[in-house]
Amino acid sequence: MKKSTLFRFVVIILALSAFIVACQPQEVEVEVTREVEVEVETEVEVTREVEVETEVEVAVEVEVTREVEVETVVEVPVPVIVDDPNRTLNIIAVQHAECAWDSFWCTVQAGIEQGALDNNVNVTILAPDSFDVDATASLIEQAVAAQPDAIMLTVTDATVFADPIQAALDLGIPVVAYNAGAGPVEDGIGYLTYLGQDEYAGGYLGGQRLAAEGGNKGVCVNHAPGHTGVAKRCAGFEAAMTEAGLGYEELVTTDDPAESATIIGDYYAANPDADIFITMGPNSAVPFYAFMDNEGLSAGDVVHGTFDNSPEITARIQDGTTMFGIDQQPFLQGYGGVTALSLAARYGILPAGPVTATGPGFITADSLGEPAGADAPMSIIAVQHAECAWDAFWCVVQNGATTAAEQMNIDLQILAPDSFDVDATASLIEQAVAAAPDGIMLTVTDPTVFAGPIQSALDAGIPVVAYNAGSGPANDGINYLTYLGQDEYAGGYQGGQRLAALGGTKGVCVNHAPGNTNVALRCAGFEAAMTEAGLAYEELVTNDDPAESATIIGDYYSANPDVDIFLTMGPNSAVPFYAFVENEGLTTDDFIHGTFDLSPEISANIQNGTTQFGIDQQPFLQGYGAVQALNLLYRHGVVPALPVTPTGPGFVTVDNLTVVQALAGEFR
């Protein structure tokens, strides 16, 4: 009788399935016609709200949104790459002043010389004998006539310099600006980037530090009204005050220190609640100190920070009157200019943004110690969540790091787990801390799990920078120095915008690494772009078996035939995607595909039109930049300017593929 139980079991199941079939509504075949919108607006004004949260120590976190208007980018010609990356480059630097007659420039030139040494470059510095715009312009013409491998210059006058700079660009000579300039967009000249202080960030980050001390009302003491750079400093400071829920006012002083001290005193008498002051440099700091003496105020009564540095400011920082001096880090302007040109001319790696921030660098009582010096031996341990052996992308990162380490004579050790494993990576960080190197660079794949190990490094006094994975010290809640990488959200968002502009109905984010917060941000940015364009969105998780993943994508596609926009997260999800495309016999008319990262196969598919773009985060620059940042800090006392140092996103499309392809796998 038991045997019949089994039979009944089978019969019941068959009956059940028959019942379900009977209940199943008839499927209606629907002809799907896809409308492709042909009109594409060319000039899109994108207003992006960026959450700027930087200071970790701020007790009450209030979100302030800073509106950034993305302007139309000036056409930047792709510079010619030198035949042999290993040969010594010749760079000419043209500046409006020099060490011989302005001591400020000694620091800039020291940076240039150190940069030349580290990058195997010969630099010739040209400068007029006194401040003279026309003389400087003709020095630029001379420099172009000499046809060096690259030119760096100070854009003191964008109008006068436009023609000589354009002559260099027309010859394919890469050009960067340093110390003076406003970036290619504002100057209207297509040079690569401007290296100087991010004035807004200086005011903002300074304001956050001051607000963290507590207070009622912040005052921006401005001795140079009408100066746009100084206005940006005040604007950033105001944003930080508003964010912290404090009052704000701008106080204009004059060039006369005695007069200015009285102005500040009168203002203070009228506004006794003002207790946070930021001054715009020695010219307003000196009257401020006079005001304090006049009023008999001491360090605890008001909180003060200032831009720039001077012997008096240094002394006031040491005695506790002033919290910090904001340094534009002239050393980094010179050093960074040489490095940026070397990377562009040798490897075709371009600066990520039109302005490369060299400051604000905060000089505080803690940081007034001496750096180790250019010849000091140095060791760095890099801990990353993946590596070259099993992810092609990482070969380029590691090449960047090892190239920098060789150039700068640094002992570099790279640690990584042999498959994606957050816990294993966390214990590698602990190992690195135990080895007590002079600097640690790491990927913050999981800020929660990594917070403990990273904090133990910071407690041990080891400087830490993050690269490739992370979202900056504020968002990660860990007080490391800076994060070098692309804004993952911006990568997904801009990628989504490009794909949506080509038409489509539904976007899918193909994610082979669920649980990676970095990849989640890419999907979130992509989702935002889809939603903004009025398109549907879904996330599809694949796995490590490419055969299985191809079937997963195929099954998903047949369950969701309306999907026509695909964004893959790198070679490990792009490879199964291409297998899926082959299986389905799809043509480029059936779908729109973009991907993060580059690999030989992705490049081939960009070439044949299957893939619209690879989002290049310039991994070489992540490895190179992380080593360089630690080197500059340890040996030269230069701190990273911003909590996030962007290295990308850069879009590799069929237009610039040939340049990139020549370097793929090694430098790109």
């Binding site: 038991k2 045997k3 089994l6 039979f7 089978v10 199941i13 068959l14 399935s17 028959a18 379900i20 079939v21 199943q24 499927e27 590596e387 070259c388 052996a389 099993w390 992810d391 092609a392 070969c395 042999d418 498959s419 669920p514 599809l540 998780v541 694949t542 796995n543 490590d544 078996d545 490419p546 055969a547 299985e548 191809a550 079937t551 997963i552 195929g554 099954d555 998903y556 047949s558 369950a559 969701n560 070679p571 490879v575 199964p576 297998a579 082959e582 299986n583 389905e584 016999g585 690999s599 030989p600 196969e601 081939a604």
Partner: protein, 364 residues
């Protein structure tokens, strides 16, 4: 002959075979899905389900032989990776540590000049040697294979690391051998399209050559298992090693041989994978051992040996693949592709319960 006796005979046939449980489950689930899952009754889905097991299926054959003899192999993933690196580098003469080293030894391969026969020899031979090593360690030390291969898994990973030059290998060339191992099976696909499919249909057929290899291997190894003394010895060793030895079974030799076969199949899986995807990394297919063990168990094999079949194991991995495709096509909101492992978990436990039920009934 009345209905009852026919029914009883049919049932007996099922119950005496280890594949009864898995086969019933596979058919029931497949038929059920045919009716209730939209887009399931297509050639595209069928070929997708079968193609998805092209790599894990091959590995599962080896795991099943081992499990029948009461052993495990947790070191298959590095063997797959090793095969991928050797086969990939040598077949196209990729500019890699492998090609350069072999070339400097005077072997007939150089950068840009691949050697297909040597690629196949290395792709199969080296993993087979690695498997043999597992077996030799097992019989000389008497450490359980779970522990032995847990150790060699890490050791092999390290060896692959060195051989790979710590770099990912990716090629764009397509030598003919890739088509032979895992090209599109277009003669069959076109046949289906021409004679079976409605010309109006937008259905796709995506069988690949790997499916033929898998079927061939399943037949060969199933016959090896049931028709040869070696196969009988595996069952005997797994059932009761002491008794088997007393009967004159050369237990040690048979087990080493089973490990060698397992390595050989892992090597073949690595070649099949490289032929389609043309890339391999050191951590390739991490965790495939557990997928394969799950397939074998769902397919009726016992964890402590002496029972199981290659057919059953194939059915096991197919069942998992059918479930995955069905679940994705159903668009169940709480079981998307990333929550699929939970479905596999339920399947494993349910299948083993059913298998146990059928086995105890047939033996009683």
């Amino acid at each position: 002959m009345n209905n009852d006796s026919l029914r009883v005979r049919a049932l007996r046939l099922f119950e005496n075979s280890p594949i009864a449980g898995p086969l019933i489950t596979l058919i029931v689930v497949y038929v059920l899905f045919l009716f209730i899952v939209p887009n399931f009754a297509t050639w595209r889905t069928l070929s997708g389900i079968i193609t998805a097991v092209s790599i894990s299926g091959i590995v599962t054959i080896g795991i099943t032989l081992l499990m029948i003899s009461g052993e495990f192999d947790l070191s298959l993933a590095p063997m797959i990776a090793m095969s991928g690196y050797l086969f990939g580098s040598i077949s196209v003469g990729a500019d890699s540590l492998i090609t350069n080293t072999l070339s400097s030894w005077g072997l007939p391969v150089a950068v840009g000049e691949g050697n297909i026969w040597m690629a196949v020899l290395f792709g199969l031979g080296v993993p087979a040697l690695m498997g043999t090593l597992n077996g030799l360690i097992l019989i000389t030390t008497n450490i359980p294979s779970f522990i032995v291969t847990l150790g060699t898994r890490q050791i092999f990973r390290g060896v692959v690391w060195i051989v790979a030059g710590a770099e990912l290998l990716q090629v764009l060339d397509e030598p003919f051998i890739y088509e032979v191992l895992n090209g599109r099976f277009d003669s069959f696909n076109d046949f289906i399209k021409a004679y079976v499919l409605n010309p109006e249909s937008r259905d796709r057929v995506n069988f690949r050559v790997a499916t033929l290899w898998l079927m061939g291997l399943v037949i060969v190894y199933q016959l090896l298992l049931v028709w040869t003394p070696f196969g009988n010895h595996l069952f005997a060793i797994g059932g009761n090693d002491g008794a088997a030895r007393a009967q004159g079974v050369r237990s040690a030799r048979a087990r080493v041989f089973a490990f060698m076969i397992s390595g050989l199949l892992a090597g073949f899986a690595g070649m099949v994978q490289f032929s389609q995807f043309k890339s391999v990394r050191v951590a390739e297919q991490t965790g495939i051992e557990l997928t394969a063990i799950a397939g074998a168990v769902v397919g009726g094999a016992l964890l402590n040996g002496g029972y199981g079949s290659v057919w059953g194991a194939l059915i096991g991995v197919l069942l998992i693949s059918v479930l995955r495709s069905g679940v994705i096509l159903l668009k169940i909101p709480f079981v998307p592709a990333d929550n699929f492992p939970a479905v596999v978990g339920v399947t494993i436990i349910a299948s083993v319960m059913l298998n146990n039920y059928l086995r105890t009934r047939s033996t009683s």
